[in-house]
């Protein structure tokens, strides 16, 4: 098959791309008692997917992506607590707008820099927001956050219940699907291709006349808005928001998840989030005192032997098998 024909087909859906969604629906029926946990997995997938757009595709290394998750989470929480605005869908829209605006403004400043400077500045942006949330206690609840939030029915029909996660789970699954489709369109477009160009060679991208910084700011803004939606979902699903939504723990966690799954591959977010969170869950159950040791060892093995994450490992395995079959 020629390269042009391959490129023309690359964006088409393949049969296995249905599997995550079938699995998502199956989980709803198979694990009714785990839906709270499963909802958190879906939210984390969306968060990791937003990071993949900037880290995996555009090559922007950030340690502060939780800033946008937190911005979305607090937007939804504060709107509900202060203004009584608890309609879920418009809440997510507001979360996307606020997080996107913060992404745009900070991106305009930050994306003039690269490498370690950029890494530090993303961290600083998140720390600033975290302090703002801590100090603005009248609005944000300060250190305690905002507990006991309740939200309206989705589309006026499906109600939330923090004890039974059925609505939350399907709602999160639907939002994830829509966001995923948007990201998928984006990465296969000319815009997405130009982001990979920036990631692969900045110097060359300038030399082909691309408005590099503008592209990066656009990608960063879209990614921030998606992370904001993930944060908004978190607040709606759990009924509370506190400082943990925008700390370094969350930012580093999502980075680890994406690297574990494989970045720049669209499905790395899915594989990474499920693998990490299920592992964490099982280890915590088996060794309540030392489960982090198990996580640490797993990550070391991935960092040493599977640089491209779990999906990279499965690619290598497939190539090896094909090579053997060809012999």
């Amino acid at each position: 098959m020629s390269a042009a024909a391959h490129l023309a087909r690359r964006h088409r859906f393949r049969w296995w791309e249905l599997l995550p969604w079938i699995a998502g629906l199956a989980a709803y029926f198979a694990f009714p008692t785990y839906l709270a946990f499963a909802t958190q997995v879906l939210i984390t997938i969306l968060f990791a997917l937003s990071l993949d757009l900037v880290l995996g595709y555009a090559g922007i290394v950030t340690l502060g992506h939780a800033a946008f998750f937190g911005a979305g989470a607090y937007t939804v929480g504060m709107l509900a607590a202060q203004l009584g605005w608890n309609e879920p869908l418009s809440g997510l829209l507001a979360a996307a707008l606020v997080a996107g605006a913060i992404g745009l403004v900070s991106g305009l400043v930050l994306l003039r820099t690269q490498g370690l400077t950029l890494l530090m500045l993303t961290l600083c942006t998140m720390a600033l927001l975290e302090q703002a949330a801590n100090m603005g206690a009248a609005w944000t609840g300060g250190f305690d956050g905002i507990p006991g939030l309740s939200f309206g029915k989705i589309l006026g029909v499906f109600g939330f219940d923090v004890l039974y996660y059925r609505s939350q789970y399907l709602y999160a699954l639907a939002v994830l699907l829509l966001c995923f489709l948007a990201v998928r369109v984006l990465v296969y477009s000319s815009f997405g291709q130009s982001l990979t160009g920036v990631r692969e060679n900045l110097l060359r991208m300038h030399a082909v006349g691309a408005p590099v910084r503008f592209r990066l700011v656009v990608a960063y803004t879209i990614s921030a808005a998606l992370a904001g939606i993930a944060g908004g979902l978190f607040t709606q699903a759990t009924g509370f928001v506190n400082l943990a939504v925008l700390g370094l723990d969350r930012a580093a966690g999502v980075l680890i998840i994406l690297i574990l799954g494989g970045y720049g591959r669209l499905y790395g977010a899915f594989v990474g989030a499920i693998a990490y969170m299920v592992l964490e869950h099982l280890l915590a159950k088996a060794y309540p005192t030392a489960w982090q040791l198990g996580i640490g060892l797993t990550l070391m093995l991935v960092a040493l032997y599977a640089r491209n994450g779990i999906l990279g490992m499965s690619d290598a395995l497939r190539r090896w098998l094909q090579g053997r079959a060809a012999q």
């Binding site: 098959m1 020629s2 390269a3 042009a4 391959h6 490129l7 023309a8 087909r9 690359r10 964006h11 369109v185 984006l186 296969y188 477009s189 000319s190 815009f191 997405g192 291709q193 130009s194 990979t196 160009g197 692969e200 060679n201 110097l203 060359r204 991208m205 300038h206 030399a207 082909v208 006349g209 691309a210 408005p211 590099v212 503008f214 592209r215 656009v218």
Partner: protein
């Protein structure tokens, strides 16, 4: 005198106390096949970087068909029609050859920021990239990632990308470096098929290639123009032979 395709006036560049470009007055005529030669450290690549806007000159100006470009960004100059290749490959290494060229073509056609349509469905971009790839005899490798290609083949991708920008001025910084001499004819053939009104400036150490290619040669020494003329004039210039060409022509 009519405006040259590309012209520099009293162009100067210093890094601190080090003057690397000294009052260079240079004309690249429309359709020229011009070579810039000079010993290592003469400031040839700096000169290309000044022309393309990677560096901004300390003094002097750069004109494209009489229009001042001196303060324009790199991207703007590309849009005006100045394309270059690099002395050391600057490619999208993890992407396929076809994608490498497509990115350049998309930017030129102004669709590089389009978000909705899949890149593979832009048949104009895909077809033009394929045409350029065939022209440089890269067809068999179009679907391979650049990082998997031998260095010589990668050099050709550099040129395909530059041609994808449909330039009026093409600056080739040592295009044949790293290409086996048996393959350098592919390069010359490609340049020979370029539209005649594109001005090509080539920086090259391979004198055989320079004399086959160029109809005009400029010799740069220590950042200043030392001599300029037709290949015959340059070959006959004793001083040039003494400082630069001696071994290459006699040996």
């Amino acid at each position: 005198m009519t405006a040259a395709m590309l012209e520099t006036k009293d162009l100067c560049m210093s890094f601190g106390a080090l003057e690397v470009t000294r009052k260079v007055n240079f004309r690249l005529e429309r359709g020229a096949r011009h070579a810039l030669i000079g010993p290592n450290g003469a400031g040839k690549t700096t000169f290309v970087n000044l022309l393309t806007g990677v560096l901004l000159p300390s003094r002097g100006s750069i004109l494209l068909e009489g229009e001042d470009l001196t303060s324009l960004s790199q991207a703007r100059r590309v849009k005006r029609g100045i394309a270059r290749t690099f002395q050391i490959n600057q490619l999208f290494r993890g992407l396929t050859v076809h994608e490498n060229v497509s990115i350049a073509v998309s930017e030129r056609l102004g669709v590089g920021g389009a978000m909705l349509r899949p890149a593979g469905k832009r048949s104009d971009v895909v077809a033009e990239a394929a045409r350029l790839i065939d022209m440089l005899k890269l067809g068999d490798d179009a679907g391979r990632r650049v990082v998997e290609l031998p260095y010589g083949r990668q050099r050709l991708v550099e040129i395909a990308i530059a041609l994808g920008l449909n330039p009026r001025v093409l600056l080739l910084d040592e295009p044949a470096a790293g290409i086996p001499s048996t393959e350098s004819h592919i390069l010359l053939d490609a340049i020979a098929t370029l539209p005649k009104d594109i001005a090509v400036l080539i920086i090259e150490h391979d004198m055989d290639l320079v004399f086959r290619f160029a109809d005009r040669i400029t010799v740069l020494v220590s950042g200043a123009i030392f001599a300029e003329g037709t290949p015959a004039e340059i070959a006959a210039n004793r001083e040039v032979r003494a400082i630069y060409l001696g071994t290459a022509l006699d040996g």
